[in-house]
């Protein structure tokens, strides 16, 4: 079933909407959540909770594309669960990817963090626009989807080492960009 059909099911409050959503995107959701959470039971609960979030949001929302919206929800729910579950253990790809980002950041949190976050998002979008398509995908697969190097390498057709080198360069560019924008 395509996104349009799924959205119509949600608008009709049809019970099979969740089952159809799972059939269409269940594997993607579990994979994304599984990169953040090491426990399969947590993954299962987060994916189910994400479906409920979609159920509550649609209607009135009519997300397009639905897949992107769903991924955003799964990531948010999984990260929330992650922060409950872990005390900075290196037990998931997400932890490792956060640690990598730590290397290109410095400075304490400020009280205006919430306000700054919106500006930071805009700065990140500016940074992403400046990257090549391939580098943009590599960066997002690593730090948005928390994919491993080998998974990224498979997707973009590079060796793991090449992906690693690319990410080092991208992080260096990101640091420069954030400094220029006044965030560091």
């Amino acid at each position: 079933m395509d996104d349009k059909g799924l959205i119509e099911l949600f608008f009709a409050r049809a019970e099979e909407a969740i089952a159809e959503l799972d059939r269409a995107y269940g594997r993607l959701c579990r994979s994304l959540s599984g990169q953040i959470l090491p426990d399969r039971r947590d993954v299962e609960e987060c994916v189910n909770d994400s479906y409920l979030n979609v159920w509550n949001a649609v209607p009135p929302a009519r997300p397009n594309p639905l897949k992107t919206f769903l991924c955003t929800v799964v990531r948010r729910v999984s990260i929330t669960r992650y922060h409950h579950n872990t005390a900075a253990k290196r037990d998931s790809q997400y932890t490792v990817s956060l640690e990598e980002l730590d290397g290109c950041l410095s400075g304490p949190d400020t009280p205006e963090a919430a306000v700054e976050r919106k500006e930071l998002t805009a700065a990140l979008e500016g940074f992403l626009d400046g990257l090549t398509r391939e580098n943009r995908v590599i960066f997002l697969r690593r730090y948005w989807f928390a994919d491993s190097y080998s998974q990224i390498a498979r997707q973009v057709g590079l060796s793991e080492n090449a992906v690693s080198v690319r990410l080092v360069r991208i992080r260096k560019d990101l640091r420069t960009h954030l400094q220029k924008e006044g965030f560091l």
């Binding site: 909770d49 919106k118 930071l120 560091l184």
Partner: protein, 489 residues
């Protein structure tokens, strides 16, 4: 700046970046070598899976793979099998324990009630008790049943009926052939409760005060996507707010807020669980669930009602659940607790993403000097990987209670199944087409074994031609891989 801050900001980026990252396909290599490589690999692999495994199967014939592995892994917990636990009373001697497992079919996702109830894997546990005293002895026992497995049938989409224990008739308790009445219990926590009233992190009990505030939307700016919003009772760490809409419950605690799609004239209800005399009810209105632009609106308080948590939870209780009203309060509290833990999801009893933990309580009386056989029959649900083709299932037997039974005589487990056992945590022996295990020495442990339908008995055949094809296919694959690597460098 913390990496979490950057990660959160990254989480807010526009959807087209995410879409690009999802849909991006590599285009560095031409399709010809890959197509050829896939063909070679397919040839090699298809031959490989048809090759007989050199290991002997338990029945003495060579075994071969007959079905492919799952297309994706979707792990689903089953129910660990537990022996009855004596919770009150002592003096009885447990002379022997016999556990008989009968697994005649492989479980799958049960999409209707009939297929779920017809699943015929069963366990029969027989415990022989002796009363050595000159007085009748009465003991209380508990049989933990765990949670319904996630793959169990739980909801009828036609009637919207919810089942929390649809297979209840399959749990049977007997003493010397006579049925023993047992009380079904349930809780919202993950394990058998240690004590009543201490099952939840925020210490709700049946008599906790719940205040219901009902408001009506009397003024609202005309927008298509209007939401009523409310903040949680932030000043009180133990006080939880719950908003109900169409049978779904959204908790608000601490400094969180929630949004409800609303229109002029709608009724808004919020329940405050716990004593919060200074709680200030404050609905406000926004447009858009994401941008949340403030809009003009007023909600007037039309009713305030004080009730107990038991009364509150009873609003969602259904007699068909099979769960008592009192237990439902704890199931409900557990669900809310879980929802707070999960942050934003709501508790929707019409589509729950969780199951209550279940157990039975019953009583046995043994006359002076008598030896009796206590028999428990129940369904057996393994953990399994659900996918397009699930091939393995794992059965778990919790032997902690065996330790507490202090068995003086034999303690055996027998498994009857046509499905081959491919792994086990203890060494079974095979006798008369049955797997047999002596449980003595295993008390306190967790026993698990895997049955796999990926493997089945097949007669030997001439695989010479296939071996040559496999070798050629592999060689072609190697050459192509080498070619691809050269192109990459």
């Amino acid at each position: 700046m913390k990496p979490e801050t950057l990660s959160e900001a990254l989480g807010q980026i526009e959807g087209h970046y995410i879409n690009e990252a999802i849909t991006y396909k590599r285009s560095r290599l031409g399709w010809i070598p890959w197509t050829a490589a896939c063909a070679a690999f397919f040839l090699f692999f298809s031959i490989l899976i048809n090759h007989p495994d050199p290991t002997e199967d338990p029945w003495g014939s060579s075994i071969v793979a007959t079905t492919p592995g799952p297309l994706y892994d979707y792990y689903s917990d089953g129910i660990p099998l537990s022996l009855p636990l004596v919770t009150d009373g002592d003096g009885l001697i447990t002379e022997s324990v016999s556990v008989k497992l009968d697994v005649q079919e492989f479980p799958g996702g049960f999409h209707d009630l009939q297929s779920y109830l017809e699943f015929q894997s069963t366990a029969v546990m027989e415990l022989t008790f002796r009363n050595p005293t000159t007085e009748p002895l009465t003991v209380n026992l508990t049989l933990p049943c765990g949670k319904d497995p996630m793959y169990a049938f739980r909801r009828d989409y036609e009637t919207k009926q919810q089942y929390y224990h649809a297979d209840r008739d399959r749990y049977q308790f007997c003493l010397d052939g006579k049925a023993v009445p047992a009380t079904f219990r349930a809780t919202g926590s993950d394990t058998l409760p240690e004590a009543e009233g201490t099952w939840h992190t925020w210490h709700i009990h049946e008599n906790t005060t719940v205040t219901k505030y009902t408001c009506r939307v009397t003024e609202l700016e005309d927008r298509e996507d209007s939401f009523a919003a409310i903040w949680g009772p932030g000043a009180y760490s133990d006080i939880i707010g719950v908003v109900e809409r169409n049978g779904a419950y959204q908790t608000i605690n601490g400094n969180s807020k929630t949004l409800l799609s609303t229109a002029l004239g709608d009724t808004l209800e919020v329940y405050i669980i716990g004593d919060a005399p200074d709680y200030r009810l404050g609905w406000f209105f926004v447009s858009g669930s994401i941008e949340q632009t403030p809009i003009r609106g007023t909600a007037e308080l039309i009713d305030t009602q004080v009730m107990t948590f038991l009364e509150f939870s009873n609003q969602s209780w259904q007699s068909d659940h099979g769960i008592s009203r009192s237990d439902w309060a704890y199931v409900f509290a557990g669900a809310l607790d879980r929802q707070i833990f999960n942050a934003r999801a709501s508790v929707d009893f019409s589509y729950p993403s969780w199951n209550p933990f279940r157990w039975y309580e019953y009583e046995l009386t043994v006359e002076p000097g008598a030896t009796v056989v206590h028999k428990v029959s129940l369904p057996l649900y393994p953990s399994l990987l659900l996918g397009a083709e699930s091939t393995e299932c794992v059965y778990t037997l919790d032997l902690k209670t065996l330790e507490r039974l202090c068995v003086t005589g034999s303690q055996n487990l027998t498994l009857t199944t046509p499905i081959p056992m491919t792994e086990s945590s203890a060494e079974f022996t095979i006798s008369d087409s049955q797997y047999v295990l002596d449980l003595s020495g295993l008390s306190g442990a967790e026993l698990s074994f895997t049955l796999s339908r990926q493997w089945s008995v097949s007669p030997d055949s001439n695989y010479g031609f296939l071996w040559i094809s496999a070798a050629l296919g592999g060689f072609a694959g190697f050459l192509l891989w080498h070619l691809i690597c050269r192109r990459k460098t």
